[in-house]
């Protein structure tokens, strides 16, 4: 065999070994993340005097530690879902704009502009959120509360700028470029022949997109949205600055409530005792598992269609 001739050459063995080793190191890191989070979480969980999965409060630094993931997990899921609901339609619009509407020469430049949104560090979004968006959102929030207050989501007596809605809006801005970039790649791969056939039959541009582009791109957009969801759940610093850091389950997204697992880690780490650090690590483990599941599901959807593989890389 030709291949075995290569293997016999001096130097090829070590090189092959090193590159295989690097790949295995990567796998080992992923495994180690799980293992060491568990190792440091267990002692804290044993010291916990309440039930970790259902307890709402977070007082792991007390002499009798009481803490649970309940309110934090709720906030993480609610804020990420809200962000997803806000970001996905806009991102699909942006992707269509760049793939099918913008003038050809401008398309790549405009695509780069949207990518720049992803290049802005999350702490900068946090600063922008606290200094600009929080006061800015007070007006629109009051408006929503007054006229749409009959919807439970917008109800409540106190309306503030530092709310779940504002945090979700910042998250939406942060995940928009990811969803838009993947959707754009997928839309660009829609079969040209079908698009041209639709146009040749007299379809308008929108009819062509609805018949030839959107059905082809749907799985890609779904997995893009799921990747965005995973990103939103793990986002830390921006929301740590914006969330009012309460430990309460409330659907009133305009009220002074809201927190997330990641934000709580960033805010609580400074004064955490040993049990406190373990408790934060335990909450991080939950976050790790949730994002792992969401990401694997997204990858699974992509992997089923091979032509998408490059778009998601």
């Amino acid at each position: 065999m030709r291949r075995s001739a290569f293997r016999r050459s001096r130097g090829d063995g070590p090189f092959r070994f090193a590159s295989t080793g690097a790949g295995i190191v990567l796998l080992a890191i992923m495994a180690a993340i799980g293992v060491f989070l568990v190792v440091k979480a267990v002692p804290a969980l044993q010291a916990n005097t309440s039930h970790f999965l259902t307890e709402l409060t977070w007082q792991p630094n007390a002499t009798e530690p009481v803490f649970g993931i309940g309110a934090l997990a709720f906030g993480t899921v609610l804020s990420s879902l809200l962000a997803l609901v806000i970001a996905t339609p806009v991102a699909v619009g942006v992707a269509l704009f760049i793939s099918h509407y913008a003038p050809r020469r401008l398309a790549s430049v405009l695509g780069y502009v949207v990518d720049l949104l992803a290049a802005v560090p999350s702490v900068v979004y946090g600063l922008w959120g606290v200094a600009f968006l929080v006061p800015f959102m007070l007006g629109p929030s009051k408006f929503l509360n007054e006229y749409l207050g009959w919807i439970p989501l917008f109800g409540g007596d106190t309306v503030v700028g530092k709310s779940m809605l504002t945090a979700s809006l910042v998250l939406a801005i942060m995940i928009l470029p990811i969803i838009a970039a993947i959707s754009r790649e997928v839309f660009l791969q829609a079969p040209k022949s079908q698009e041209e056939a639709a146009l040749a039959l007299g379809a308008t541009r929108w009819e062509m997109i609805r018949m030839a582009v959107l059905p082809f791109g749907r799985p890609g957009v779904i997995s893009a949205a799921m990747l965005g969801l995973g990103r939103a759940m793990g986002e830390t610093i921006a929301v740590a600055l914006i969330f009012p850091a309460t430990f309460k389950i409330s659907f009133q997204i305009l009220g002074p409530y809201g927190n997330s697992i990641a934000a709580n880690i960033a805010n609580g780490f400074g004064e955490a005792t040993e049990v406190g650090r373990g408790a934060l690590i335990a909450s991080g483990l939950v976050l790790f598992l949730i994002t792992l599941l969401v990401n694997m599901a997204a990858r699974f959807v992509i992997a089923r269609r091979k032509e998408y593989a490059r778009a998601a890389a």
């Binding site: 502009v113 308008t204 793990g234």
Partner: protein, 306 residues
Amino acid sequence: MTTQTRTQTRTGIRTTTGIQPVSAARRAKDRLVQALVYLAFALAVIPLLSVLWLVVKNGIGRFDLEFLTHSMRNIGARDAGGGAYHAIIGTLEQVLLASLIAVPIGLLTAIYLVEYGEGGRLSRIISFFVDVMTGVPSVVSGLFILAFWILVLGMPFSGFAGALALSILMMPVVVRSAEEMLRLVPRELREASYALGVPKWRTIVKVVLPTAFTGIVTGVMLAVARVAGETAPLLLTVFITDSINNNPFDGPQMGLPLYVFDQAGRPTDTAINRAWTGALTLILIVMLLNLVARLITWWRSPARRR
């Protein structure tokens, strides 16, 4: 609505002998969608412009020599002055160390996937977990280094611990971009080299890597730009200090993102202004890295060489 449009299209085709103009309703709908698509793009760009505008407007005031050359030692939240020198030094050291760890591992993994993996089971598993690793939240990588390096091994908070956490975030990005570049290297180049009797590893080092070099550099720079703005992992591993610490291997350091977070959390105008200037410095660094990466791609793109 859907069925209605469809029947219209159908009857339109059936009744025409020549070419019939598009009906007003269909054209209106087409225009409406076009307007919505343009609106979506505008909605996406507005926050970007707002962020950049406010960062420049509020940050430029303190963007002076003192900011770039002084630390925050003995400067309270209310005091004017102070700077981010310690944070800039910290960020540069942490990102450099992270790259030194992540680039060799990432590049070798990419080489394995493209040259040695041969689509086997191990390569498919590694490839899948590289994808999954891309989705690891940055705060989790920080927690992992906190648990492993600081709590279990008993190492101190340090710039190096932060670099370890950042390298975990960098690796999958480096692997993916390098893999893509290696796959672009034409098969014929490799075969020509084999035909001359050059062993496989020499072919990779002398033929494949140089051909893909600029692409790999671009990918690395984008990865660096991504982690340079990360805050959460640093908070848990580097901690925070107001003083200059040039040694990344011992004791808490600062980083520019941490600096912004720290100052933004203090309730005075002077601190908030410092945060804006820190954000401006950070954005300038990240955008510069992005721009250089794009320029390299553009410089070596096939379209330009023609």
